[in-house]
Amino acid sequence: MKAEEFLDLLAAAGYNFFTGVPCSIIGDLILLLEKDPRIPYVPAVREDVAVGLAAGAYLGGKTPCVLMQNSGLGQCLNALTSLNLIYKIPSLLIVTWRGYKDKDAPEHLVMGKACTKLMDCIGLPYRELSTKNVAKSIEWSREMTSQRQIPVALFLPRGVLE
């Protein structure tokens, strides 16, 4: 799928406040967001700051989406557990999956194995994106965030976006 198409699906689902920290897997997507007049994108200094920004935007009435690499997920655990999950503040987290199936640079391998288990540990729902399920997964994220009012993660391995 092209980054343009992916962004259109997110916008059509109602996500209207974007923030995050780049990863090469979503490099083009973030470049598009930077230029898109429809949707604000705030480049965050760190992943948990992005989660905080998204939480504030939600309180102000927005439907936020946070973009990050899975290496930043550990950084977010305190924000997710002691802010989002207890106040019931939803966000869509699009988390690129470095270290997917053990194939990557050494710094990504441990988190590549652990990232979905971390989500299980803290009780945060997630799905793995593939070329076939993007639209359905984005739809699922909207249903989950509005029903349960907690963040959900979509893990994005390399190759789903062109």
Binding site: D48, G52, L53, G56, A57, G60, S82, L83, Y87, I89
Partner: protein
């Protein structure tokens, strides 16, 4: 200056402003002095009061948003300052009550006893930066920061005191804090 006196002046001066209060003493004092739906008490996620408030200020540009922060919180997320300085939301007022200690855990030192937070704010791009060390100057400086086009940064140096054990904890559940805060935003 004492923390309680400073927060009493702040809570007595605020009108319709939305407040994001940092965890620990700041939230407990604000709750005790003047509990109001426009207060978002951040009970966890230390460091993130400024980020939550920034997201809110961007989502609600017509509303004044006040951060009640502490030195420990600011130091934990120093990147939060240039994050605000780069975007320059005019409706944001960042008040830092600096007692140079982690007050809630037994007054262990923070590094703000040597590191001037107001200079970091200045370098981070806040167009208005004030530092107050005397109680007599506080109210006027606060009013100036609330009126001016921001973002403004107001550092208030206070005495380190005994921990907040005597202060009640915020007794609303997090979901109740969220619901009444969002309701207060919607109503306005």
């Amino acid at each position: 200056m004492k923390t309680t006196a400073v927060l009493k002046t702040i809570m007595g001066t605020l009108r319709e402003e939305l407040v994001v209060a940092a965890n620990g003493r700041v939230s407990r004092e604000a709750f005790t002095l003047k509990d109001r739906p426009q207060n978002f008490y951040m009970i966890g996620s230390m460091g993130l009061a400024s980020s939550i408030a920034l997201g809110l200020a961007l989502a609600r540009p017509q509303r004044k948003v006040v951060i009640l922060d502490g030195d420990g919180n600011v130091l934990m997320n120093l990147g939060g300052l240039p994050q605000i300085g780069e975007l320059l939301p005019p409706n944001l007022v960042h008040i830092v009550i600096d007692n140079e200690t982690y007050g809630s855990t037994g007054s262990q030192a923070t590094i703000s006893r040597k590191i001037p937070l107001e200079k970091i704010a200045q370098a981070s791009g806040y167009p208005v930066v004030e530092k107050v060390t005397e109680e007599k100057d506080f109210k006027l400086t606060l009013e100036r920061c609330l009126e001016k086009e921001g973002p403004s940064f107001l550092l208030v140096k206070v005495e380190a005191e005994e921990g907040p054990e005597g202060l009640p904890r915020v007794n609303h559940s997090p979901v109740v804090i969220r619901d009444r805060f969002m309701e207060a935003i919607r109503r306005s």
